[in-house]
Symmetry: C2
Subunit: 444 residues, 2 copies
């Protein structure tokens, strides 16, 4: 039984008619359920923490549920492995990189299976190629194309055995080489597996106990959200909230996978429910704004006195696209002399130097006077599905920021979010200002 994960595919709970009924947020389901639990690197950083993870798994297994666990590499291990690959060669074969780096999750999967067995729970490890989890051939950033969940399901049925699945990895079927999904890919493994085995929910255990209205390090009284819609979570993840990987949220949304974000550091016998990522219609009360995110991985580039003629935007942005550089915000301002224009845009800070070099090498073709760049900028975003039905939400923010003396360098908006680019020195002030502006400080 292969589950092909194509856009719009519905093989998860939705297909079983579950997602549309009102969702009970209680964790202990009254009837036997099938579920996927995912634990990240800090949750499995050493054998003691793996033992703690096993207690969470035992709770669910003891409740009679079929459990598949997806694990990341022990924290630090992936960096060690990546470091060796770089030392071996700065530019290395992504297939070999994948073989090296995927070993991290393999180790955790085996160790967790051992600990579970020691606690008297039937368990076995599954590598990506054993399940199999199939991917395309984009090694290092592979996308899951299909999962055969039948082996794991048979072990549920015949042996009531917990499946411990190595996250982040799969196999490219035509070549039978090991592939990895890229950083944070274990979240995606977990969501895809949930769909493939028809599990009722996917619990993503992390080092925080849910999704917050904003980063609690900046706003100590930030609130944990009980529910967030897929759309909002997608924006939050894209705009800097590190709690879930973007691709996993996309997949949860298209596959209708009920996903909880929870803490592995909770008491395993009395855990908090965490935050449920769910369909918009399962959220009864919508705030206008649900959360404030920020991203420091931004860099701003301004080209001064670019000739204001057709084709100039293409001359700038086509080479960026060809170099795989993502351009985010774009602003064009007519300059004093009406025949030229100033163009400002942002790229990821990791791409900053490369973007500048490409522009300098196309200087004659584009025809700009000066190139200015800044990396001390931050993008602050407000996200909420309520924006759809409320006018003037962003305008209030611009005013509030102006009152605090915060200069806005660029703005982008979409249906359910807006972002402003500001000097990074104002990050905390801006986040706190927006957090209280939209009433997120108040207890719900």
């Amino acid at each position: 039984m292969y589950t092909r994960l194509l856009p719009g595919g519905h093989s998860g709970p939705a297909a079983r008619g579950i997602a549309k009924v009102p969702i009970d947020i209680e964790v202990a389901d009254p009837v036997m359920a099938r579920l996927v639990m995912k634990f990240g690197g800090t949750s499995v950083a050493n054998v003691d923490r793996i033992r703690n993870v096993a207690r969470h798994v035992k709770r669910e297994a003891d409740a009679g549920h079929d459990v598949a666990v997806v694990v990341s590499a022990m924290s630090g291990k992936t960096n060690e492995l990546v470091g060796w690959c770089r030392e071996a060669a700065p530019l290395h074969d992504a297939r070999e990189y994948d073989a090296v780096v995927a070993s991290g999750e393999q180790v955790t999967a085996g160790l967790l299976a051992i600990v579970l067995q020691e606690m008297g729970i039937q368990a076995r490890s599954w590598m990506g190629w054993q399940v199999p989890i199939l991917t395309d051939g984009a090694h290092g950033v592979a996308r899951i194309t299909g999962i055969d969940g039948s082996g794991i399901i048979r072990h549920f049925e015949e042996r009531k055995e917990v499946a411990v699945v190595a996250g982040f990895q799969g196999m490219h079927e035509p070549t039978r080489r090991i592939s990895t999904l890229g950083r944070g890919g274990s979240d995606t493994s977990a969501v895809a597996l949930t769909a493939a085995i028809g599990a009722d929910r996917c619990d993503i255990y992390t080092d925080v106990d849910g999704v917050y209205t904003t980063d609690p390090r900046i706003v100590p009284h930030a609130r944990r959200l009980d529910r967030v819609s897929f759309e909002e979570m997608l924006e939050l993840a894209s705009l800097g909230a590190k709690v879930l990987q973007v691709r996993s949220v996309e997949l949860a949304m298209t596959q209708k996978v009920r996903t909880f974000v929870r803490s592995s550091f909770d008491d395993p016998l009395d855990p908090k429910p965490g935050t449920l990522i769910c369909d918009e219609e399962d959220i009864l009360e919508n705030n206008v704004i649900t959360g404030i995110a920020y991203s420091k991985d931004e860099a701003q580039i301004t080209l001064r006195r670019v000739a204001d003629k057709p084709g100039v935007a293409a001359a700038i942005f086509v080479p960026m696209a060809e170099a795989n550089i993502n351009v985010d915000m774009i602003i064009q301002v007519v300059s004093d002399d009406t025949t030229t224009t100033d163009i400002t845009f942002t790229v990821g800070s990791a791409d900053f130097e490369r973007a500048k070099a490409i522009l300098e090498s196309s200087r004659d073709k584009i025809g700009f006077a000066t190139l200015e760049g800044a990396t001390d900028v931050v993008k602050v975003s407000a996200i909420g599905i309520g924006m759809r039905s409320h006018a003037g939400v962003a305008a209030r923010a611009f005013q509030a920021l102006a009152e605090k003396g915060i200069n806005i360098r660029a703005i982008t908006t979409s249906e359910i979010k807006f972002s402003v680019l500001i000097d990074s020195a104002y990050t905390e002030l801006a986040v706190r200002t927006l957090h209280s502006l939209y009433g997120l400080d108040k207890p719900q």
Copy 2:
């Protein structure tokens, strides 16, 4: 094309009619050859050393040979992984242990492939399950049952690509679980692969430049041997010489695999030939004794005043066998009172405590007066196929040791070796005495 590695199977060079022709010890074959190179943990301990290994591989690839490289885990890594398994549970599922521990070789294989590519050599890594190398289901100490070399050969033919194979690991076919061959198993992987792909020879690179007449740390003028017969090497490996794993020598012998022991620390552009392990008939001049080995992993147990009646030996040794404890030397001496006997035997020092516990628990059944044990003992052995045709070889040793005041606690002999158990304080003296007694000090 599966090569089934069954006793007496001949699929290696012998089957191709090569092994019986006189063997030229020169390394640089005049014509294109196919060869397997194996590198152990200290040779791949870090990326710099892996780069050095790659230079050895490049030399052979540049000479036009088809090359398969078998690698161990970076030294220390296997111990780290084993340590985690033990921490997870003292008694752990061998299948999960294998999944965890096999990751070490996976990492080295990927890194070496990257370094080779960086040097401009076509290369790819192969995990045990990808080749596939098939094993039985004895996880942790699996035996290779077959290797399909066709994939690797196809890559030789189509792409002139070096195969970097993760040693020590395979796959149990019925369950598709990862298996490992036990400590030192990478030597066995290399020899089996040599047979499976019909390679002309197997070069085992290690941290010494060949097989010596004895441990050079004890006898500084110990000589490197140009050739050793399979039978002698098997005894040397069994009796304490750590240069090759016993199972790999057995396999080389039955599969007629020409095996060289060489140093990875030699200049990659001008390496020494090392020691050739080969058929007896390929060795022109036989010494009576070829080498002196010693093993400190011995423990002696003596049962005093055991009733001298039928069945008592079974009462002692059957429980040992059932507990998988290998008993080596056995001596029975009638004691003063003619109705009882003293029985002395040796076990591996790792099994010492367990063996004592088993005997104590069977005390009534066996009926002994006292149990004495000693771990400060060493087994010193002399090995040589010349012993077959020379009488009194061992007797000369007993006399020479007696003259040095070394007390012999036990003796065992076989067709081509004898061993004496002595106090460990006399190890060096005994090894040196035997080494000069049989003329091994003299230059050949």
